[in-house]
Every structure is written in structure tokens, then in C-alpha cells.
Symmetry: C2
Subunit: 330 residues, 2 copies
């Protein structure tokens, strides 16, 4: 039985956000930069501290929180019954990169929290997002639903035949790492020519020679030909990636989120044009749309993982994520 208060945790490579909610809405939200030095329990301990601080700001005792939903960058690897995080952007020991100030090979996050709370769910951030989309987004009516983030990286979460799919280590579907070209630039994961290396926001910025994709879109809007070429190629390959995903999942609805989708006015027509020319019998009935939860998705994904069923109608009716308190920096 889930209790009166729940916590949602969003772990990224640069920051960690924690929210505490009750049946009527989000009571407090805090964030802190992700701590990447120390032993491999640094992040679990940081998260536990942040949950306690958020409870304080929410005006409740931290022991009144019994359910914790954690949405995190991944992949995972199962050690016994627990998923450990083996993400190259957190664990320096995986790649030997000197970019990270640690030599972690994995982070035993799930086991740590299962010893502290009776109700813990840990999922990849896009898997958590598709749960939120299914509960509160346009995907409510669909048994076959995919959420895709198009951001500095590319990822996805999916329902197939009404079930959230996870795979053996909880890594399904790691959409950014499907191959899209026979050769191509190297991805952070080691692959050459995968979707993330070719069509992510990072790839768009790299191809144009600027720090972020935003500047490439600015140049595009100013009429720059090279920006246009780069964005068209990225959109075409992203759409071909979606067609591959659809060939494997036979889905109904693809919801798009992520920072690159801030320029959806440019991208959506390009993506749709390319997507619907792929194998028509498979592609023709698929809906592709920008997430209606777009700017709020990160705030409710982790909470959605552990939300009591009895809250859902109220949340659908009053959309409290739109009235969440300001983020407090710790």
C-alpha cells in the first residue's frame, strides 16, 4: 500500500532533481549538481540526502515517504536481483576516460534504496517518461506507445501490447544505439554510425562546429545553407531510426520530447515526410507528435513510477505539474 507522500528522483549526468508529492500535487522540488567524486555510493548517498532535504521543504517528516521512484540515465546491469547503473557518463571506470573524476564500474543504486524504503522503482529516464505519457499524456488510449527523447542524447521507452518492456537488464529500448549508417562518427558508447552519433543534438552541434544544437537552428532560421543541410540530414536519419523502431515494435503512437524538439516547427515536417515513405503498410497508421507534457515530463516521470492508483484521476483533472513550486538549488 502506497502512503500519503511519494518522492521522485531524476538522476542526470550534470544534476539531480528530487520532488516530493502528495495526492493533490508537488509540494517541493530541489536540485543539486551530480557528485562524481568519491566511492560508488556517492550518488546514492547524495540522493538520500536530497530526499531528506526535499521532505523538509515540503513540511513533512522524511520518514513519511515510503515510495521512491528513480528515473536515471543508464544502461543498467543486473547483479542478482538488483539493477546497477553502468552509465558511461557517470562511471569513469567503464571507459577509462579522464573526463570523469572517478573510476566507478557501476553504481549499486537500487540495492541501496531497497534497504531504505519498502517501495522503490528504478527505471531509465525514457522508460519513466513513457509511464508518465501513458498516465497523463496523449498516449492514454494506446497499448502500443513509444516515448522518444531527442536531446543531447537519444533514448526511448515503450509499451508493447499494453506492457512496459524492460528486457533482461532493464535496458529496452536503448534507441540511441541502433546503427543507422554503415560507417560514421563514433558514439560515446563506442559504436560507429549509431543514431546518437549521427542525429543527436550533440551530433548536430559537432557537425556545424558549435557548442550546442540551438546555435545551428538559429543559423538555419537565418537562412544558412550548411545549417540547413546538417539539420535535414539529422532529421532524415532520426526519422529512419523511428521507422526501424516501428518495424520492430509495430507501434501506434510515437511521442517526441527532448531539447532538440524545441525546434519542432522545423523538425516535425521533415521527420514525418521521411518516416511515412518507409514500408507503407507498417508506417501509414502511426501517429507522430510532440509530447503535450513536453516541458513538464522530467518533473512527473519519476513520480509516475510510484504514483498510487487512487491519485491518478485527480492528477489528470488538475494537472498539478503545471503548478509545481520553483526548483530550490542546494
Amino acid at each position: 500500500m502506497r502512503g500519503e507522500y511519494i518522492a521522485g528522483v531524476d538522476i542526470g549526468g550534470t544534476k539531480i532533481i528530487v520532488s516530493v508529492a502528495d495526492a493533490t500535487g508537488i509540494r517541493a522540488r530541489v536540485y543539486q549538481h551530480t557528485q562524481l567524486s568519491g566511492d560508488n555510493l556517492t550518488i546514492p548517498k547524495q540522493v538520500y540526502y536530497l530526499i531528506q532535504k526535499t521532505a523538509e521543504y515540503a513540511g513533512i517528516h522524511y520518514e513519511d515517504i515510503q515510495s521512491v521512484g528513480i528515473s536515471t540515465c543508464s544502461p543498467f546491469e543486473k547483479k542478482g536481483i538488483y539493477k546497477e547503473i553502468v552509465a558511461p557518463n557517470l562511471c569513469g571506470g567503464l571507459t577509462g576516460s579522464t573526463r570523469l573524476p572517478n573510476s566507478w564500474h557501476s553504481i549499486p543504486l537500487e540495492e541501496f534504496f531497497c534497504q531504505l524504503y519498502p517501495d522503490v522503482i528504478v527505471e531509465n529516464d525514457c522508460v519513466a517518461a513513457v509511464v508518465a505519457e501513458k498516465l497523463f499524456g496523449a498516449g492514454k488510449l494506446y497499448d502500443n506507445l513509444v516515448y522518444v527523447t531527442w536531446s543531447t542524447g537519444i533514448g526511448a521507452g515503450a509499451y508493447v501490447d499494453g506492457k512496459l518492456i524492460r528486457g533482461k537488464n532493464g535496458n529496452a529500448p536503448h534507441f540511441g544505439h541502433i546503427y543507422i549508417a554503415e560507417d560514421g562518427p563514433q558514439c560515446g558508447c563506442g559504436n560507429y554510425g549509431d543514431l546518437e552519433a549521427i542525429a543527436s543534438g550533440t551530433a548536430i552541434a559537432r557537425d556545424y562546429g558549435v557548442p550546442s544544437a540551438k546555435e545551428v537552428f538559429d543559423s538555419y532560421r537565418a537562412g544558412d545553407t550548411r545549417a540547413k543541410e546538417i539539420i535535414h540530414r539529422a532529421a532524415r536519419n532520426f526519422a529512419r531510426g523511428l521507422a526501424s523502431l516501428n518495424a520492430l515494435f509495430d507501434t501506434e503512437y510515437i511521442v517526441l520530447g527532448g531539447s532538440v524538439m524545441n525546434d519542432s516547427d522545423i523538425l516535425l515536417p521533415l521527420v514525418k515526410e521521411e518516416f511515412y515513405i518507409s514500408f507503407p503498410v507498417l508506417s501509414r497508421d502511426v501517429i507522430i507528435a510532440k509530447s503535450i507534457l513536453f516541458e513538464y515530463i522530467a518533473d512527473i516521470s519519476a513520480l509516475a513510477l510510484v504514483m498510487p492508483v487512487s491519485w491518478i484521476e485527480t492528477w489528470r483533472t488538475y494537472t498539478p505539474w503545471e503548478k509545481a513550486p520553483d526548483l530550490i538549488k542546494l
Copy 2:
């Protein structure tokens, strides 16, 4: 409740095979060339006729068959509750191709048989194959299992988290139609640069300029350099396709079948080498192996779809598919 006899039907572009089985084994098998002229009930009627003839050869009355499993080339499209076949290699009206002597847009196979039998299951041939692999092959112990056929075409069937996945029209996972190159030859489905267009047996033969892949492997064994290049490229791309599939499904076991796998001594080492260099955290624990049911898979796939649970232990113990009666041509 499934009865004493079941029928299995395998519908391909060139022939239809029907088997009738009881609790101890296969009693009769017949085949006939697929009839492609007439109205769009031609194939359903032909199959019904073949079931009656097979029952005769099996020495039973055809009305004693209550369960029919149908394994067929696809894709499907749902009309109401029934799947119709919308396969470009059967339905001339889909592509306007003059290669086929009909103008069918779809074949209402499932509805036709559901009016005749109380227990009918229709699946794509690779989906049926993965059911057989899960019951009788090396995949018994795995909740995350994929069967892939590498033949004139390329297809797959998959269990994810212990569930056979189907998707909205029963087309998951249409593995041959994921994109693998930014450009490339055109596939029969219309796509440019998908896996089937680049790495199927048909593609290998086309690239070498001969009627079948078999001849390219013969040349490879004779030391021909161009045959070697073509086969190495196909194997590399096939392996990259498997890595993409694994990124989306996070699977445990990939079972390979299909006519191209007759040359598995050449192909498996090439495929494994390429597969395991993709994103190591995702690929390293996946088993890739040739099907132990290899030459029998088509004989038991359709039967597996409707096999009574009470038969399974006997079939596992006595492997009656290895002692099936000869195919009778009608």
C-alpha cells in the same frame, strides 16, 4: 480445450505445407504450390482443402481437427478483430507489380478460418518459429529470446520479459525492414538501405550477379575475393542489425535459422566478431547460436502455435519432428 488432433499450416510465397499431428507426433504432411490467381479467398480455400486432404492421409476425419495454427508470410493489417495478410509477395494489388497474377490488396485469412474452427492462431512465420524455439529449442530457459531467419528475406520473432510480442497489427518485430545504411539498394517493401536489401540471401546473390546465395558461398570456399568481400559485408551488416535489435529488446538469446545459415561455419564467426564490438555493456552477455531445430523449424512452428500443453513434455522427450512422415505433393 484443445482436442486429439491439430493442424499446422505454413503459407509461403511459393508453397503451402500442412501437417496434422496428435499427442505423439506428426501423422501426415502435404504441400502444394501457392495459388495466386482468383479472388482474395483463393489461398484460404486452398488451405482449407489441404487440411481436409492431410486429415485423409492421416487416417482421421477432418472434423476431428478443432485447432489450426497458421504460420504465414506477412505483414498483417487488422480489420476489426481479424488480421488480414497484406504481404507484397502474395498480394499483387499492393504494389501494382505485374509479377503477380492477382490484384489483391489483402487476404482475410483469419476471419475465414475463425468461421470454420473454434481454435485458430495466425502468426508471422518467424513469430511462430520463436514459439517453437521457446517450447522445443535452446530458448526454453530464457524470458528474452529472439528467433531470426536469414534466408532470401530476413525476419524475426521475439519474447520480451517472457511475453511473445506482437504490436498493433501483429507485425513486431519486422526485422528485415530496419534501416542499416543511409542509402543503398531498394527492398521489395520500398525502403532504400534496409537490412533485407543489404544482407539477405537475395542481396548477396544480387551483389555477386548469380541466382542464389549458395553460389556465392561456393565461390567463397573456392577462394574468390569478390565473393569474400560481399559475404563479409553482408555478415557485418547483419551483425549490426542484430546489435540494433538487441539495443531495442535487451535480449538474452538470439537463435539463427534460415537457408543462409546453411553456411554458418563461415558466417557465425564473422557475425559474432562484429556483434560483440557494439556497445559492450549491452552486447556482452548475449548468446548467439544457430537453431538446434534448424532443419525442422518450419515443420513444428505452425503446430507449436496450437499445441495442447499436455503434449509438450512428450514432444520434448521424443522429438517427433525428427521422424515426421515424408511430404506428399498434391
